[in-house]
Amino acid sequence: MKRHQYQPDALIEVLHKAQELFGFLSSDLLLMIAHRLKLPPSRVYGVATFYHFFSLAPQGEHTCVVCMGTACYVKGAGSLLAALEHEAGIKAGQTTPDNRLSLMTARCLGACGIAPAVVFDGVVAGNQGVEQALERVKGWLEP
């Protein structure tokens, strides 16, 4: 925040940094940011919930993001996601109860040349088949 000289218009930059540092944006954290940037908490909360990128709940140990861009969709990302949901027993956007895996979807990773693409723990993998993806996730789900 200091780098942005506590400018209220740097709110999105600050939220990005906060999420990078803490993994997610807790309500205490949002309050603190609001206070420091001299913004009403409603405004900070409004911005944090408006953008998909910000997460208000903690993430699981591992993350799996399925790209649902048009190219990936045409190449079968839908069935890929369904298989992953079935395997993990959760819906996209949720985390398993034991906190091992968060399953998410992305709008488009811009990796359409290698569709369908899945991001495992921040590493993009292209041309993913259902079995290939399940194999990766299985290892994480087992205790």
Partner: protein, 549 residues
């Protein structure tokens, strides 16, 4: 920094090059196929073979044919290898050694003269895959920043405006507003406090589009140069590059480029010893499709929720913090330096009567050659799909091409003779869009496609105006019902009516164009909708049927 120093950097860079260069693609697509390891293996193999004095390995930007990635090309003979892995990378180096001992199997050779490459006209992508995007010297050696020098020293701002206007360049973000006109409006507008801004719109939200990402990753300095020329022409001294948060590599490379340019005095105060100052800051998007809309983008840069506001006043008159603001797309800025360098007449010779220059498309979906293509305006869709794209893998038939993302439409195979320019695509019910081009084959269900895009618009609607907020949800409900085979004729009528309503009454481009995928699929593939309706109507055919479960 003056011209002599700039040329000295270029000369030093060129002299420092070794006779043989192995270029290894380091853009996001190939990186995810582990091109980082490939590059390391290549470097190790060069050292092992004792070729380090005449062979160098360098990382470059996107080489366009993403479906064959990771790609490696060897200069000067131009041999292009595809699907290079850590295992077969040493064979590329072994082929260069004089005794020619092949070490294991070589990766497959890709023909650099095939139609995919031969039909392209690289202007925006001229440096992409050629230069190292992480080194400013590499860009300068390719003639970089000379256009900026020329503009600052030999042209007045009015002359720059005139050149851009005469080139016929139109906005590459999708709508195709004449760039020269936009610049002139900003230049003319009075600012309340004397400030003006230049904004680069890199919020490439269309699913299926990755041109801007590739340009930012492969040639970031070109964007900075284009922005600086624009700032000089309109009288701005501060710029913002708004990049999607989903593109970490593009952000990192652009940040690096800004630091390097500032260090050499190509950004900052008194650029090229003139009175012109220009700073660029990066703003990172946070995943909201609507932020591609100009006024929403401005709200987002100001740190608020990205909701659009009614226009006019246009951002060119009152934008960021109420000051005149020039907003152009990444690809538009990428065209600026070549226009200034080669002259507007050169640019105007490419393309059609109303659409000048080239357009970069991201070719993806059910097609053999996926990747980036840059083609002259006016090329037919058929040429793109069949010649450059190489048709459907396995030889199936292409059913339709979707352009313009969720704001565009599906063009059926019967209309593939349509030339690619702003007007022609508009006539067949689609838009040029930012350049996503998704090929769909026989297996694609068009109702599902319409539903997919509507789901996207429903989620991305910012909620400010009612037609878009409620209309997209209702249209999605109707499409889901149709797709499930539970709809009748009246639902279809209602859907048509809603399309019209949302199109005409929404506040911003998102809502106004949200019905496009539905309208175009209804227009060209009515039988697919009808087939889903009939199933329900035939067995009962009774009017009371809907009220009884």
């Amino acid at each position: 920094m003056n011209l002599t120093e700039l040329q000295a950097i270029a000369a030093r860079e060129r002299e420092g090059r070794k006779p043989i260069r192995i270029r290894c693609c380091m853009a996001a697509g190939c990186l995810s196929a582990d091109s980082q390891t490939v590059k390391q293996r290549l470097e190790a193999a060069v050292a092992e073979a004792g070729l380090a004095d005449r062979v160098e390995v360098c990382g470059v930007g996107c080489m366009r044919l993403c479906s064959s990635g990771p790609l490696v090309q060897v200069d000067p003979d131009g041999a292009l290898y595809g699907r290079v892995t850590a295992e077969n990378a040493p064979a590329v180096v072994a082929a260069l050694a004089e005794d020619g001992q092949a070490a294991g199997e070589a990766p497959e050779l890709v023909d650099p003269a095939q139609p995919f490459f031969a039909h392209q006209v690289p202007i925006v992508l001229e440096n992409s895959g050629q230069i190292d995007p992480e080194r400013i010297e590499s860009y300068i050696a390719a003639g970089g920043y000379q256009a900026l020098y020329h503009a600052l020293h030999e042209l007045t701002p009015a002359e720059v405006l005139d050149q851009i206007a005469r080139s016929g360049l139109r906005g590459r973000g999708g709508a195709g507003y004449p760039t020269g006109l936009k610049w002139a409006t900003v230049a003319k507008s009075e600012s309340p406090d004397g400030r003006k801004f230049v904004v680069c719109n890199g919020d490439e939200g269309d699913p299926g589009a990755f041109m801007d990402r590739s340009v930012l990753e492969s040639d970031p300095h070109r964007i900075l140069e284009g922005m600086a020329i624009a700032a000089y022409a309109v009288g701005a001294s501060q710029g913002y590059a708004y990049v999607r948060g989903e593109y970490p590599l593009a952000i990192r490379r652009l940040e690096l480029a800004i630091r390097q340019a500032r260090k050499l005095g190509l950004l900052g105060a008194q650029i090229f010893d003139t009175a012109f100052d220009f700073r660029v800051d990066i703003r990172i998007g946070a995943g909201a499709f609507v932020c591609g809309e100009e006024t929403a983008l401005i709200a987002s840069i100001e740190g608020s929720r990205g909701t659009p506001r009614p226009r006019p006043p246009y951002p060119a008159e009152r934008g960021l913090w109420g000051c005149p603001t020039l907003i152009n797309n990444v690809e538009t800025f990428a065209n600026i330096a070549p226009i200034i360098r080669n002259g507007p007449e050169w640019f105007a010779r490419i393309g059609t009567e109303t659409s000048k220059g080239t357009k970069v498309f991201a070719l993806a979906g059910s097609i053999t050659n996926t990747g980036l293509i840059e083609v002259p305006m006016g090329i037919s869709l058929k040429a793109i799909v069949e010649e450059l794209g190489g048709g459907v893998p396995g030889g199936g038939a292409v059913k339709a091409v979707q352009t313009g993302g969720p704001s565009g439409g599906c063009i059926p195979a019967a209309l593939f003779d349509t030339p690619v320019d702003y007007e022609s695509l508009g006539k067949v019910g689609s838009i040029m869009g930012s350049g996503g081009m998704i090929v769909m084959d026989e297996r694609t269900n068009m109702v599902e496609v319409a539903r997919y895009f509507m789901e996207f618009c429903k989620d991305e609607s910012c909620g400010k105006c009612v037609p878009c907020r409620v209309g997209t949800v209702e249209m999605h409900r109707l499409l889901t019902k149709i797709a499930a085979g539970a709809a009748d004729e009246s639902d279809l009528d209602q859907l048509r009516e809603l399309c019209q309503l949302v199109r005409e009454t929404s506040l911003c481009g998102l809502g106004q164009s949200a019905p496009n995928p539905v309208i175009s699929t209804l227009r060209y593939f009515p039988e697919e909708y009808a087939a889903l309706l009939r199933e329900r109507r035939r067995p009962t055919d009774a009017p009371l049927e809907r009220s009884t479960p």
